[in-house]
């Protein structure tokens, strides 16, 4: 008799456990589907306030292209600004600092630089094998999570370096969990004429970016959900 009772009790609790687990997975799936559905739909707010903005910098031409874009954005709409570059990329942070100081100088009497500069472990070094990149990407993901929890941006601007992928994935997860809704904008580099970069391909296929911009018509033909905006440089 007692054996039967304890058996049925453990059955009950394991059934309960399984039900909770299934309910949890279902909720997550529903949230993911909802986020993917809402991704790419313009925000419904009229005249929003200033939006906290994460700007992802990358070595080589990436930072130059990003600065080119920042110069035509109204800085009072995208503030406070958080710049993230790879840990080994001091030049990009330097260029961003120069840009921000020139903005601070040109403003009269306003509070000083409303920007922060951070560095993140790289998902993948240039030339690194794709196999070892799996581990380094995981490390980068954890570091990215730490930084994103601190920043919780409303806007994410990126243009291709590997560093942006973990950050965009985490921004997407924040949308699913409800920590912060953000608008993710991805501008594929001008150096990408016929093929997308790996970051671009992933963000396009997984529908993580709200708006995906390409600079050459060949890419627009291949990836019709992207916006063709011509050359930025």
């Amino acid at each position: 008799m007692e054996k039967n009772i304890s058996c049925s009790f453990s059955d009950l609790s394991s059934n309960l456990g399984i039900s909770c687990f299934i309910a949890f997975i279902t909720i997550i799936l529903v949230r993911v589907i909802y986020v993917i559905y809402r991704t790419g739909k313009p925000l419904s707010k009229r005249s929003p306030q200033a939006l906290s903005t994460l700007i992802v910098l990358g070595s080589g031409g990436h930072t130059a292209e990003m600065i080119n874009l920042l110069l035509v954005l109204q800085k009072d709409r995208f503030t406070p600004r958080f710049f993230i570059a790879a840990a080994t990329d001091n030049m990009s942070i330097q260029k961003a600092r120069v840009l921000e100081s020139s903005w601070a100088d040109s403003q009269s009497g306003v509070k000083g630089i409303s920007a922060e500069f951070m560095q993140i472990y790289r998902s993948r070094e240039v030339g690194q094998s794709y196999i070892t990149s799996v581990w380094t990407t995981l490390v980068a993901m954890v570091h990215a999570l730490w930084l994103m929890i601190k920043i919780r941006p409303q806007v994410v601007l990126c243009n291709g370096p590997g560093t942006c992928f973990p950050l965009c994935v985490i921004a997407f997860i924040f949308k699913v969990i409800g920590i912060r809704w953000s608008s993710i904008f991805y501008v594929e580099s001008i150096a990408r004429v016929k093929r997308l970069s790996l970051s671009g391909l992933l963000l396009y296929k997984l529908r993580i970016a709200d708006q995906f911009f390409v600079q050459w018509p060949q890419l627009h033909r291949k990836y019709p959900r992207a916006h063709y905006v011509g050359c930025l440089m």
Partner: protein, 178 residues
């Protein structure tokens, strides 16, 4: 451009840049007798090489004996002055170097690094070469490109514009149109 007619050559500098990369194949081939002879034949007097993180060291030369004057350095905080004073630029295929050079309207030969793993850089160089904004070469064929190039046939590149992207971003976020 073109050869000086009065026999007294002004200084005509060829500036070679590899940006922040290492591109020994380019530095080596530019330092080769074949390429240097071709540059002399086309009327250039000086060769200045920015060699970046490379390990191959070119041979310096004062050019007093009528040969090409050769000098090199690794990095500088800004290559703008070198670009401005160059008559010809030979660059690696990085987009930053390419667009910075075209902004100054300098004739440009882009050399693609065949040793790079995922060589997406060649896409940009080839596209711009197809549109006649620059010449595209690989290290083994550089001397041929120099011999046959017609710089007057190059089409100036009109700078791009980031405002279409800004407009779309602002519209998406609900900011009013200016």
């Amino acid at each position: 451009m073109g050869e000086s007619l009065d026999g007294v050559k002004g200084k005509r500098v060829v500036f070679v840049t590899v940006g922040t990369t290492r591109f020994d194949a380019l530095v080596k081939v530019v330092d080769s007798q074949e390429v240097k002879d071709e540059l002399l034949r086309r009327g250039y007097t000086n060769l200045l090489i920015q060699m970046g993180r490379g390990s191959y060291l070119p041979t310096k030369s004062t050019g007093d004996d009528g040969s090409l004057a050769v000098d090199y350095f690794t990095f500088s905080s800004s290559i703008v002055e070198h670009l401005k004073s160059a008559s010809l630029v030979i660059s690696h295929a990085g987009s930053g170097s390419i667009f910075e050079t075209m902004r100054f309207g300098k004739p440009l030969i882009v050399v693609v690094n065949e040793d790079l793993m995922d060589n997406h850089q060649s896409e940009l160089a080839e596209e711009l070469a197809e549109r006649k904004h620059l010449y595209c070469a690989r290290p083994p064929t550089l001397h041929l490109t120099i011999a046959s190039m017609d710089l007057k046939s190059l089409v100036p590149y009109s700078p791009g514009d980031a405002t279409p992207v800004a407009k779309l971003i602002n519209r998406f976020l609900g900011f009013p149109e200016d």
